[in-house]
Amino acid sequence: MSRIASCFEALAAQGRKALIPFVTAGDPSPAVTVPLMHAMVEAGVDVIELGVPFSDPMADGPVIQLASQRALAAGASLQGVLDMVAEFRQRNTTTPVVLMGYLNPVEAMGYETFARNAVAAGVDGALLVDLPPEEAEAVAPVFREQGLAQIYLIAPTTTEERMARIAEAGSGYLYYVSLKGVTGSAALNVDEVAVKVETIRKHAKLPIGVGFGIKDAASARAIAKVADGVVVGSALVQRIADYADQPDQIPTQVAGLLAEMRAAMDKSD
C-alpha cells in the first residue's frame, strides 16, 4: 500500500483527520526546509505538501508568491526540491510528501525524468495546479507507471459531472479548494464546504482534503469535522516570512502553530 493510502487508513481507524501543512520548499533558504519538515512531523502533521517555487504562481496570493520569490532568489530548483525530500527520507520513511506546483518546471525536467526521480527521492504524489485532467493525457500514464499519485483540485465552480471525472482521474487524495480565489484568501464558509464535500463523496472513494482559508486552530477544527484532511498553507508561510531573518526560529514557530491546530482537531466535543 502507498504511504498516502496507509496514512489515511490509519487515521480513519483512529477516527482522526489528516493535518496537511503546505510550505514552499527552499523558503527562505534551502537549509531551512528539511529541519522544518521534521519539526512539522513532530508537531503531529500527517502529510506534507511541499511547494515547488515558480516564477509565475498564477493561482497564489501574495503570501505564497513572495515565498516563491524568496526561494528562487536563494537558488531553489525542482531538482533541489527532490534532493530535500531525499534528505528528509533518510530519517523519515513514513510521512507522505506531496509536491505542489505548476506544470512548467516539470515539463522542463521532462515528465519521465521527473516522475522517476521524484519517486526515487521518496515523493508520494504531485499536484500540478495548472494541469486539469483534460490536459494530463501525456502525464497521467507516466505518473501511474512510476507510482506517483496524481492529486487533483476540485473547486466550488466544479460541476458534479466534472467531479466524477476528476475523482476517476485522481489518486492519493482529492483537494477541495474551499473558496473562489487564490491561496491566502480570507472568507471560509464551513457550511458550504460541508455540503460540497458530501457531494464529492457521492462520486469519490478517495480521501478529501480541504484547503484555502484555514488559518488557525478554530478553522482547522471546523474543517476537520467535515473533511478527511485539513490543508494549511498561507498562515504557515506568513509565519516563515515573519522569521525570514531568524531562520533558526522557523521550525519551532511553524511547529507551534501546527501543534495548536492538531490539538484543536483531535479534541473531542
Binding site: F54, M58, Q69, N104, A155, K180, G181
Partner: protein, 403 residues
Amino acid sequence: MSERPDYAAFPDAGGHFGQFGGRFVSETLMAALAELEQTYLALRDDPVFLAEFDRDLANYVGRPSPLYLAERWSRELGGAQIFLKREDLNHTGSHKVNNTVGQALVAKRMGKPRVIAETGAGQHGVATATVAARLGLKCQVYMGAEDVERQKLNVYRMKLLGAEVIPVSAGSATLKDAMNEAMRDWVTNVDDTFYIIGTVAGPHPYPMMVRDFHRVIGREARAQHLEQTGRLPDALLACVGGGSNAIGLFHPFLEDESVALYGVEAGGDGIETGRHAAPLGGGRPGVLHGNRTYLMEDADGQIIPTHSISAGLDYPGVGPEHAWLKDIGRASYVSVTDAETLAAFRELTLVEGIMPALESAHALAYARKLAPTMGKEQSIIVNLSGRGDKDIHTVAAIDGINF
C-alpha cells in the same frame, strides 16, 4: 509537414494547435472557460451578433482602415512596394480595439457587469476602458508598475475613461505579471467578471476568439490589395508580442501559399545577448498563462525577464497559433533590435509623415531589410498596428529631452 493543413479546423475542440494551445488553468476557472467557449461558439455563427459587431467596427472603430501605399518610402528603399495597413487610424489608435469591441459584446451577452484586462503598452487597457465606458461596465486594468511608469499617457487616458489602473509590482512588474494578477482577480470574481484578454494567448477559447475578432484586418487587407493592384501581396509583415495584430493579418491569407508571412519579434539588444523578448526566436515550448507555447525560460522552467524598448512586446510568451505556424513552416519569425526599431520609427515619421507605435516599428524595421531584396513589381503589406503618440516620451528620453 507534407500536406497542407486545413487551417480552418484549428484549434481542435480542446483548443489545441498541434501540440500548442490548450487550457492549462486551475480548476476554479475550468467552468468559466467552458461557459465562455459555449457562448462564443454560439455567437460566432449568430448573424445578429455578427451584424452588431460589424456595425460597431464600422461606426465606432471607423473601419475599414485604409491600405496605404507608402510610395516615397518604397522608392527610397528601392525594392518591393510597401503597403501599410493603417490600424493606427482606428479609434483609440491601435488594432487592439477590434478585439475589445468583440469581447465586450460577448460580456454583455453573458450579463457580466465588470470587465478586467491586463495591459503592457496601455493600448489594450485603453481599448478596454473605452468599450467599458460605452457599455457602462465597471473596468479595472492591471498594468506592470514598470509599464505604468513608461506609459504614463495611456495610464491617464484610462483614468479619464473611468477605469481604475492597478499597478502590479510582483515579479518583473511588466505585462506577464499584469496577466498573472488579472488571472488571480478572475479566479476570485469569476461570477460577475469578464476577463478581456488583450492578445491571442491565454487558455482556450481566448486565442481563437481574439483571432476571430482581428481577422477583419486580413480580410480587408486582402480585398484592398486585390482592388488596388489586381493581385495578392508577396509578403505580410507584423510585429509579434502575443501575436494578435499578426494573426489578424495572416489568418485570411494562410491558404494563399504564394504569400510569405513574417512575424517580427522584439530583438531587444540582440538575440545573442539574451536581453530580448523573442520566444519564437530564442525560446522553447512550455506552459504559461493557460497555454502551451514557446516561452523564454531557464533550464529549470522558470520564466526569465524579457527586454524590449516597446512595452507592448515585452512578454515572454506568444500566442499558440504562432508557435504552431512556426513549427509547420507556414510563417517565419524574425527579430529586429531596439536600435533598428528606433531607426524605422524615425524614418517612417520623416519620410511618410506617419508616426508609428514602437511595436509596429519592429515590423517596419524588418520591411527596411526585406523590401530591397525584392523586385519593384512585388509588394509587401506591413501591419501598422498602432500610432506612436504614446511612445513620444520614450523616444524623447532617448534623445535626452524631458518634458
